[in-house]
Amino acid sequence: MLDIIINIAKKEFMDNIRNKWIIIITILFASLTLLASYAGSIYSEGWQDLGVTMSIMSGLVNFLITIIALILGYSAIIGEIEKGSMNSLLSLPAKRLEIVLGKFFGLGMVLTSTILIGFGIAGIIIGFNVPDVKYDEYLIFIGATILVGLVFLSIGIFLSCLFRKRSTAMGGAIFVFFLFTIIWQFIVFALLIITSSFNIENAALPDWYFALNFFNPLGAYGSLLSLNIPSIAAQQTELIAVEYPSFFNTTNMLITLILWLFIPLILAYWRFKNKDI
């Protein structure tokens, strides 16, 4: 079983190297991080330390990682079915579970390596230009970014198994992207206004506001960063003094992201298992 999963994962990785995806995304990550560090601050000129860079990048990553992971995932299964190559793959002694896992690991490797190389190169360059670099925080940032990327890859693969056409799966991916990056914020603010829960005088937010982060992977990702990277937390508390409820902690955010990773993948397999090719 493992041999087949590795073989499929390797093929996916090789396919993406060949079509220049990896190179393009890596360059994009590195150049955006360097740009954020060098020209991202309105308060001072030149290279900023990694803390400032991360707080600028965390907003950009929300959009970038989400869209890249969804693009990688949404056509993984349905694209092969539509093209016809899935027929041949399934005529071999390869199980559908092995195919889903192979695709996930292969595309996950693509995503992970682009983040590691792109952010890694940028981090090293920034490190040469800025004193007192906190690499441990930067590693947390990279790790959390990889995790949220894998979550959206898993959602993308689920969409790829859910729909019967590549174009519909793409529509689903676009909807998921807008739902979690933009629409979600509107929903949350609308709920705050409707329930009159936000008290501007003492800047207190209701517990359910924090609990909503469990239902949006980007919310859990942002929370994970602000709980563990002081420079990102400082950026938020500059605007509003926040008092977190007890359930709002690193462990719960990690569990949330891990559940977001596994549940769509399990659903993807269940859907693919019952799918006519």
Partner: protein
């Protein structure tokens, strides 16, 4: 009157002893959106035979093939490959299958060799065999070329290599000649025969009926989801009362000659056109016709015999749809 197809199968279908059936399909039914694409069909493919699977477009050929390979969920029925149930023992069933789909597709960004090696690893086939097959099928120069740049014929040949690598016990070929030039068609036909001689069972679906007739031991004809016939072409012709046609060219035709032929039992029709006589008769009567002409003093200049073609059989069973 309601027909019990299960009973018909039990009475008419060839039941091979245990272990001699490469593919067994029993009471297969598959419905799409309430419409039966395949309706309760049953047949067996004997180990070592070449079985042609024919039918007009939309008759249910591809649905049957996909069911055999476990690519689609069937409504009811049982499919066994080499004795293994495709649903219960999928891996074992697929261990020795080579499949060429109707629509051959590869990973365009990978080279021919990279593509083959990907499948080869799953099938436990060596790199040397892949390289040797690429050479054999005339793709030796394109080993390191991206498949996205291949012509349709080259993709088809690469698809054939993928199907036959590892010398599978069962080959399932859906339109193997599609997109090939005459040389390619001949090469594929010879390869199918060679593999069959070496013990492979071949299940082949094609629109080119002459191809099927040339290589198949038996055929199955499916029409509107129902298997309407399965047997050798010869037996099906006999069942349909299709008879051979003799075209006899003589130096001259006399009344004595035509009368001597018309007196023979087993003759269906005689047509005389200038110096040519067309005779439609039973197979056993052909020699009698020639003998009668000779006795009547006829001098035969040329003789052609046309056996009933698979095309005629197919037309009769499917009502003329191709």
């Amino acid at each position: 009157m309601k027909i019990n197809r299960k009973k018909i199968f039990a009475l008419n279908d060839t039941v091979y002893p245990n272990g001699t059936s490469a593919i067994t399909v029993k009471y297969l039914t598959k419905t799409y959106n309430g419409k039966k694409a395949v309706d309760n069909i049953s047949f067996s493919v004997k180990k070592g035979e070449i079985f042609g699977f024919l039918g007009p477009n939309g008759a249910g050929k591809t649905t049957t093939i996909k069911s055999i390979l476990g690519l689609i969920k069937i409504d009811s029925g049982e499919i066994k490959i080499n004795g293994f149930d495709i649903r219960k023992s999928e891996k074992n069933a697929k261990k020795n299958i080579g499949y060429l789909p109707e629509k051959v597709a590869f990973y365009d960004n990978l080279t021919a060799l990279q593509n083959l090696l990907f499948y080869a690893k799953i099938k436990n086939v060596s790199k040397e065999e892949c390289l040797s097959l690429l050479e054999e099928f005339g793709l030796g120069d394109s080993t390191n070329k991206k498949v996205g740049k291949f012509s349709k014929g080259m993709v088809q040949r690469l698809g054939m290599i993928r199907a036959i690598m590892g010398k599978p016990h069962i080959l399932i070929l859906d339109e193997p000649s599609s997109g090939l030039d005459p040389k390619g068609v001949l090469q594929i036909r010879n390869k199918i025969k060679e593999l069959n001689r070496n013990g492979s069972t071949v299940f082949i679906s094609s629109h080119i009926l002459s191809e099927i007739q040339k290589i198949c031991d038996r055929v199955g004809i499916i029409n509107k989801g129902v298997l309407v016939a399965k047997d050798t072409v010869e037996t099906l012709s006999k069942k349909l009362n299709l008879k051979p046609q003799m075209i006899i060219e003589l130096d001259k035709i006399s009344d004595k000659i035509t009368k001597s032929i018309s007196d023979i039992k087993g003759i269906d029709r005689i047509e005389v056109k200038e110096k040519t006589i067309n005779v439609i008769c039973d197979s056993e009567t052909k020699a009698k016709v020639i003998l009668a002409i000779a006795k009547a003093g006829g001098n035969i200049l040329n003789l052609q015999t046309h056996e009933p073609s698979l095309e005629e059989v197919f037309m009769r069973y499917t009502g003329g749809d191709i």
